[in-house]
Each structure stands twice: as structure tokens, then as C-alpha cells.
Subunit: 221 residues, 2 copies
Amino acid sequence: MEVVVPFSPIDPKSRLSSVLSPAERREFAFVMLADVLDALERTRGVPTPTVLSTAELDRAGNASTEVIDHAVDVPVEVDDRALTPAVNDVLASTEDAVAVVMADLALATPTALGRLFASDADVVLAPGRRVGTNALVARHPDFRVDYHGASFVDHRDAATAVGATVSVVDSNRLATDVDEPEDLAEVLAHGAGAAADWLRDRGFALGERADGSVHAVRHDT
Amino acid sequence: MEVVVPFSPIDPKSRLSSVLSPAERREFAFVMLADVLDALERTRGVPTPTVLSTAELDRAGNASTEVIDHAVDVPVEVDDRALTPAVNDVLASTEDAVAVVMADLALATPTALGRLFASDADVVLAPGRRVGTNALVARHPDFRVDYHGASFVDHRDAATAVGATVSVVDSNRLATDVDEPEDLAEVLAHGAGAAADWLRDRGFALGERADGSVHAVRHDT
């Protein structure tokens, strides 16, 4: 099996711009990547992943060297194309099974990831919020990805169309990709890795608005 | 074990006001309740639940009699207090284990619920989005709930404080309570019950905005 973790080091996590500076977004993206790689490395029976990056990691701008070095203790392959053709190129280049795990799954644990790898279906899908696909394993030669739009539904349909068996992993940890400010509350509540600590070190804590809703609020540090 | 499903038939799902009329919100709340009760009834080893309602169901306004009758083929207990004291009264009134499952878990399946009931920890928690608690099982005599704010964190801390063992169920289906318009896309993508059909019958479908994000959009029916 090949395991790839797609990553975009250039202006990452733009939807967090209202709460993090550009330099902070880059660093946070690397910290989440480190958490995902760490969880994968601790998942039984999973080979060393490859980071599939849109650019050389040392062109990442202001993310500190220490953070980058910690994050990428694994091979890095650079492909500057969009996510879909880059992943499909990996799928087409091997007869082996391929796992694709997103780099912003800050709640991922070996237990949750283990459920992804435990299924022997031709296509295993871990849906993400907003009907995305946060992780998958593909064992069928004709299955290809399309990450645009409602990708979970599209991937389920595409797998069925090529005659692949499909299994869906029902995991809140794998469903929680961190894109929006509202997602930071999930990291603070459930995160067990470096991303939660990174947020706390920068003054983020769970807070409540007047209507009772819970959000990550930032205090001066 | 006692299983209670708290339900509020009066002006329910107010955060869906931008996409559903008051009559539609009432009916949708009943349809989701019916899905939850149906999933519980099909979960192995789970006794008949009781609906813990803030009002008599026939005072619910415009929800059709057919919908109500379908939804509440189980005992109904009326307690007009807020959720927290009503549930704590149930916890205090029995030495039996108590399960509390929210009425708006439109993605709940017997498989997902089975994981909640399979754990024998003193307190089993299924977190919800926005750091809520969507389902729990309490077997410790001193555990009490507080659904205000970041209830998942509070419940985890409260269980630890009384010396209870805690287990957390990692389920996207149980984490998805339906409160906000954005949650309707999850129902359309993953719902296997009446709530997804109800939305489709009223013209809702998955759609994509210019920025690529996926939402439930409503077409004329």
C-alpha cells in the first residue's frame, strides 16, 4: 500500500484569514500536517506516508524551520497541479492499494485511522464535513478521484460505477477537517496532538457567545 | 436501562428559519424524531425509548397528525422545564442506566447507535458538532448533565470528577445534529431515513456555490 498526504504549503488555510495571520496559517498548516503524519506513523500496519506537496516545503515562507523539520520526517513528492490530477496520477502509477489522507485532520488518531485501514473494501471512504472526502483507500484499478464539490457523493457513485465495493468509515475525528474558524473549537475540544497545543499557546480557548453557541475565542497572550 | 429522547415541539429548530417556514420546521422536527426512534427500535438490545417532551405533542401546532402518529409510537412524558433539569430528574429518579439521545440526529443508524450502547463505561459520550453532547449513557449514580455551552467538555470533566470511567464514541453520524442550514447538506448526503426524503420532497438538493462549497439548495417543487 502507498499512503499519500496531499499538502499545500503556499497560502494555506485561507478561510482562517479572519483569525490567523498569513504566517500563522502557514505554521498551523504544518503543525496539523505533523499531527496527521504522527498519527499515521502510530497506526499499526500502515507504511511510511509520502507528502504530496504542491511546492517544495522550504519555499513555504515564514513557517519556522523547526516546525517544517518536525512535520516532514517522511518523503516529500512535489506536484504543482491541483489535488485531483495529482492524486489520480498516483492512482494510475501503481497497482498497489493507495490511501489518501488529508493533511488538516487535526483530530485524527491511530484508532480512527485504524478503522480506515481495517476495511478491505475496494474503496473505503471517510466522509468530511460539507460532504467532502477526508480520507480514502482505493484498491480498484479503475477508481479515480474528483475532489471538487460534493466529493463524498461523487466518490461513492464513482466507485459503484466501476463495480468496486464501497465501505464508509463513520468517524467524527476523520470527518473533521480544519478549514473554517468554527472548526478550531473542535480542535480545542477533541484534539490530542500538537495543533490543539499550538492554538492554546496563541491564546485560543473555548468560549461562548450570548446565544449559547461555542466558538474558539482568542485572548491576548 | 431507560432510554429517553428529549424533544421540543414548540417552535422547534428556530435556526432553520431562513430556509423553512414555522410549519415546516415543526414537521421536520417530527420527521427527524421519527427517524431517531426508528433507528433506536432497530438497535439490538435497546429497550423502547420514552420521548421526554416539553409539551403535549398534540399542542404542536401545524405538524400533521399523520406525522405525529408515525413519530410517537412510544411513551411520551411531558416535562416543561429546560433540558438540563428535565434530564437530571430522570437520572435522579432511577438506579438503572439511562441513555439520552437527541431527537435531531437525522443520520443515526442502528450501527452507529449500537456503538453507544456497546460500551460499558460508567459514562459514554457521543460528542456533537460545536462541542455539544448528542447522545450519552450514564451508569454512575452521581453523574449529572449540563447541556449549556461546551457540554461535551463539561460532561467529560463532570464524569471524571465523580470518579466515573468515560468512553467517547467517535461517530460522524452521531456527531451530526441538525440545527443549522449547513447541516441539511449532511442529511441529503448521508441520511438514510425519512428526513432526507422529506427534504428532497420539498425541493432541497445538494448544490455548489461559486467558491466550490456545498450546500442544500431549495428548488421550486
